[in-house]
């Protein structure tokens, strides 16, 4: 009887030890695994305005987003100077896990070369903010050329172990103001050439405004539609939408009520 008890007990102890073996063998890979699945509590939403607009471009939009909601998002405005210096206004409240960070640029002129520089400046601001707030995942919205800045950043400069979750581009001209579908601008060629470097887990919404049948008054439909040639098949989900009705022209798009609702439901939840 005693022998049977000892054997049963030893079998149980052996079972515990055997089940522990995979844990011991896996231990050296644990840090890599933890880092791969780790998501910081904070996941900011970056907003990047288009050309000719400053970091104050989205003040009204953020007020609107915080209106009639229990979850208030704090607003931090960042301006990147041409010499790489970064200036901050506003703040992120302590318990806000989804603050809105607007990144504007001292040089906010239009043009391919400026957009490329803005992508580099955005990268500077992003890394500085990441160092301060220790986030490793985020979402972003870019209006007009702001969407190009974000796309260039995602293709070329996304830091390691940083996860882009959702990107919303509003009236973004992926082929600049070119309305001829047979002409590819250098910017589109660059975005298209590096499209495989986009994060595979990204969800993208591309929204076009409509004023008439050719575009939103500034950006031609064909240029916005080029987004699918960049994103489709290279990210997890790509959705394209066209907004019509009041406030559907290029400049008014960020305040369009339908777009505000889309930002609320697709970017902030």
């Amino acid at each position: 009887m005693l022998k049977k008890r000892v054997i049963s007990f030893l079998v149980l102890v052996t079972a515990i030890l055997l089940l522990s073996v995979p844990g011991f063998l896996w231990r050296p890979q644990q840090v890599t695994s933890v880092r791969a699945t780790y998501r910081s509590a904070m996941a900011p939403v970056f907003l990047v305005p288009g050309s000719s607009a400053t970091q104050n471009r989205f003040n009204e939009l953020v007020t609107e987003l915080n209106h009639e909601t229990t979850t208030k998002h704090s607003l931090l405005r960042v301006e990147v100077m041409t010499n790489g210096q970064i200036q901050y206004t506003g703040s992120i409240t302590r318990k806000d896990t989804q603050p809105i960070i607007v990144v504007g640029f001292q040089n906010h002129h239009d043009g391919y070369e400026t957009i490329k520089k803005q992508a580099v400046w955005f990268n500077l601001a992003f890394r500085q903010l990441q160092k301060t707030y220790h986030f490793n995942h985020f979402s972003a919205m870019g209006h007009s050329n702001g969407g190009l800045v974000l796309t260039l950043f995602l293709e070329h400069s996304l830091p390691k172990e940083t996860y882009a979750e959702r990107l919303m581009t509003i009236g973004t001209p992926f082929n600049l103001e070119e309305s001829n579908p047979d002409v590819d601008t250098p910017l589109f060629k660059e975005l298209s050439a590096d499209r495989k470097r986009l994060p595979r887990s990204l969800t993208v919404y591309s929204i076009a405004g409509s004023e008439g049948y050719a575009g939103d008054g500034i950006v031609p439909f064909d240029s916005v539609n080029r987004g699918k040639l960049i994103f489709q098949g290279n990210v997890r989900h790509f959705t394209q939408m066209t907004i019509t009705g009041a406030n559907a022209n290029h400049a008014d798009l960020p305040e369009n009520q339908q777009i505000v609702a889309l930002i609320r439901s697709d970017l902030l939840t």
Partner: protein
Amino acid sequence: MEQETGWLGCHLIQLDVTFRQNSQIKAVNQAFHLAFPVVLVGTLADMIRQTWLASTGYYFQTLHVGDWLMQRAILKHYLSLLSAGTLGLVAMVMAFAVSYYLVAPVAKRTTDRLMVGVVAVTGLKFFNVDRLTLLNGQSVQWLSNNLGISGILVGILIGLVVGDGYRWGIQHWLLAEERLGQTMTITSIWLLVLAAGGLAWTLTQKGSLNATFLSLARWPFPLPHHLPGLLGFSLLTGLCQWLGILGPVASVGGQSVEAMQNLTSVLTHAGWQVPHPITIHTVVDVYTNFGGPGMVLGLLLAIYLGHSNGAQRRVGAACLLPTLGNFNAPLMIGLPVVLSPILGIPFLVTPVVCSLLSWTCLQLHWVPAVAYPIANGTPGILQGFLGTGGNLAALALAGIELLISVLIYYPFVKWARLAGEVAHHAEKTSH
């Protein structure tokens, strides 16, 4: 017997025997016996799903199950269905069985016995209605989560109330030869009373009966990070489990803000700097849940090491796999530990002693605090080791905690066996 068991053991055995001979407790224990296979199958399905097939599972991560297992999604759906259909309805099984066994000695007709079970199950549902669907005039839905293992206590209580009431009715009213009319009358009265009770509860209370029990248990200790709070939380969690609320009471620890801040700190700073070394997760969850809440892995080891009987060993063998994966429900129902005075003592005391030890070791910096997330089903003894990124002192502490739990459970297993034998003998002689 006092020479064999000591004064304490002798008194506990007497208490346990008296307790078991009570008709209410007898009905509850018979119901546990009936529910045990259902709980075991459901728990095994749930354990495999959570530990082998989910990305947060121990075997999934350590054996890279995702890389080699085919049809994982279908298998997951199958096991989800299996566990939802079994574990998800345990409270209903308990309500039915308790009332059935309570009425069985006085009701000669099977119809009466079954009818009381049906009334108890219906009554349980009346108290678990989705209040918004009822009050908004929508099609009424039920709070299905409360009908599972976390609702066992409520199931038992409804079963007892309905069973006792029905029994009283049978003893006083059902004396005539023609019984159909009387059965219908007593059943209808009970259904009307229970529905009125359910409605009154729904109108006056925002949470379900189950949620109220849980909130009462947690109310005195909202997120405690000081020693009395941690020990009190540990004790109350154990008490809830002992009463039959087997749902996840303390498992929120790993997902708390503090746990997230600890992990962030470890991943973003050099060295092992943890801003919140003393939390429910670092002290209670990690070091007092081997085999599930109550350190029941210690109980299982004590059953095999000590003077247990055949029945205890058979239950232990059946519960081996789930207990090794920290799923304690089968052992709690199978022995049972739930509502057992003798096994209840070590079940409550062991986590408190272990919490005290782990708190001391953390305070004195003998072991670092856990910061890495711990996968579901990680063997208890490895939780501290993996949670600290491979710290050997944490592994040694876990070994000591397990040894202490076995030592605490050891005499109680023997006394539980003796109490069972005495109760069995007394029952035989009374027949």
